[in-house]
Subunit: 388 residues, 2 copies
């Protein structure tokens, strides 16, 4: 019976994807990528200064509706600086979901701060606001307007919702928790360009939002990321810190802070400008792919295709199957049968609190995250698969 | 009389450079850059996996003679990981020259360690080994094979020679100091690809060496850097830590350490492969430019053109004028007259110990660095200026 579900899943995927090998997510370049790259080489501007960096930042701000965007070298760097400018410093705690890519936790540690893992909810795959509220009511107290973990004595400084596979978290619920407990909110929207919560682009609700343009994302700059914010002063600080904190001068090298070399090179930004022009058509294709998958998986029992949460528009970055709990034992079989047949699938990340470097960090009860991590399967999701 | 030296300098530069505006250092792309970039777009491999990353690493190892090279996102990241893998950890001190780009000190702080500034010598522009030996004999004691700063109580873990403007530091002298005082040596060779000390490429003498391929360097990847090492285990660790410390697995996401997203994207490596093919011809042109500058500046009194140290071959990354001490008051006038005439020149970096973020860090007497920082002028140095 176990093998049966694995075979049915493989068959369903093949009905949508055909018989060719399929990667999980591949980039595609159908626009001005080559024109803009050539322009970089012709002009000699490939590096840290150049018109494509400025253009990409403006285009990103326009697209997302954020007042400001700062292009950086990747999503991890974006999160690091966003946390730093949210006053996260040594020995602070930062609340992050247990189910996320490791970069979310790593960025916290770069601030010499402490990741504190919280549970998620099945309806958004993001942090469960109600459960978090109850937890914080139990374990924290307010001292001089700061949220203090009574158990560790440390300040809990920030909350980082991550919009899993592009699906918006419960932003209203989480904003309300942040207000109630005096937490700064930084949205890890690495996976979520083109996703909206009640009509507003994700990454624009918190003090900061961060994006990733890694090669496996909806649009790519090779490697890259961006910091979004609506606050002019914070945007200027983000630009300053990510460009070695150099004070502008025609020839003098003077730096007024410990800065970072997190600039996005012009050549990567050029790729980003071209990719951003294609984003809406990619989103259309990805939504169509969801619909194609729906047609076959709607008839399944034991597996459902994850659909965007209510009042949200998801970019459907990674299409997601979720096994019912009584089928979770079939996860490995499905992964094996699909990958062995050259249809790449993968489970969710191993929960971060189960990874060696994070074993000793604080966490709440993670029963939902634990359950979901044994039931999630991402299936091929490249935008060109949904082309009509 | 002050104005006279400034005018003479401007006139001398124009005799070599002609009347067109000149940047300090511009990249040039005369090789396979287009071909390789297009191949990335055509193949879809622009990001963290791809044949150009592997090829660039192999080509760099071959070129420098290092056993291993790990391509990363920039020179700062390279230095961060090299220091980390040299056991630099919280509250350790790291000896670095006061006269260097700020990244050298920043990378130390990323390890939550303490930069300790040391003096340089006029004949190499790098750390003065004899002065350092005397200083360490005075202020340190050996405890269980570790070098302890008697004043601060902290362990001095490593020494970072920086090969200034591409000129090799006194490596034999510095290696001897490292051996005597139990220090790990990490060479900051960000500026020095193509430079040799007694016939061996710099960056291959220490436990690690680091390179930069920023747009202003001799060859560029847009943004990029590399870690060199002769130690297989350390090379594997460097690759692991710079790629999020993920354990290799077909679908599982498990990380065994706090890693970093420091991968060089394939598209940047593609540029690097093409640029590396051109390196020898660029070095030839840069050496020729030195010769052209020599012809005019040899007749100057009060200013000398800096020449590669004895037994060394320099890449002449940035051509360097050094004012005699009695002419140091003319530095600003020369900078103004040249930059106002659109011939870009610049002084050395402001000494790091004089920057706000580093004011409270330890330093030895820095009399030579201080003097040189008021007498150095870098002049236009692009490789295409020396084409014959």
């Amino acid at each position: 019976m176990n093998n049966e579900l694995a075979l049915q899943t493989l068959d369903a995927l093949r009905r949508v994807l055909g018989t060719n090998p399929q990667q999980l997510h591949e980039p595609s370049f159908e626009g001005n990528e080559w024109v803009y790259l050539k322009d970089c080489l012709d002009s000699g501007y490939v590096s840290s200064v150049g018109k494509y960096v400025d253009k990409f930042e403006k285009d990103l701000a326009t697209y997302t509706g954020a007042n400001y965007a700062v292009a950086v070298v990747n999503g991890t760097a974006a999160l690091h600086i966003a946390l730093k400018l949210s006053d996260v410093s040594q020995d602070d705690e930062v609340l992050i979901p247990a189910l996320t890519f490791v970069a979310t936790a790593n960025a916290v540690t770069y601030c010499v701060a402490v990741p504190h893992f919280v549970d998620i909810e099945e309806k958004t795959l993001g942090i469960d606001a109600n459960k978090l509220r109850q937890y914080l009511a139990d374990i924290t107290e307010q001292k001089s307007g700061q949220c203090v973990n009574k158990k560790t004595g440390r300040i809990i400084r920030a909350l980082v919702p991550m919009h899993t596979f592009g699906h918006p978290s419960d932003l209203e619920g989480l904003i309300s928790v942040c207000q109630e407990f005096n937490l700064n909110m930084v949205e890890d929207a690495a996976e979520a360009i083109g996703s909206y919560y009640k009509g507003q682009h994700v990454g624009t609700f918190g003090l900061f939002g961060t994006l990733s343009f890694n090669g496996n994302k909806t649009i790519t700059t090779g490697g890259g990321g961006a910091i979004l914010t609506n606050n002019e002063i914070l945007a200027k600080k983000a630009k300053h810190l990510t460009t070695t904190a150099k004070i502008s001068h025609k020839w003098e090298f003077r730096h007024d802070d410990i800065g970072f070399n997190y600039r996005m090179p012009n050549i990567n930004a050029a790729l980003g400008c071209a990719q951003l022009e294609l984003l809406d058509s990619k989103l259309f294709s990805k939504r169509n792919l969801f619909s194609l998958y729906s047609d076959v998986f709607d008839q399944f029992s034991g597996i459902k295709l994850f659909q965007e949460p209510e009042n949200c528009k998801s970019n459907y970055w990674l299409q997601t199957l979720i096994l019912e709990e009584h089928e979770s034992e079939n996860l490995q079989k499905i992964l094996e049968s699909t990958n062995n047949s050259q249809i790449m699938t993968r489970p969710s990340w191993v929960l971060l609190n189960e990874l060696k470097p994070f074993l000793d960090y604080p966490s709440m009860d993670l029963v939902v995250a634990k359950s979901l991590s044994s039931r999630i399967i991402n299936i091929p999701s490249s935008s060109n698969l949904g082309n009509i």
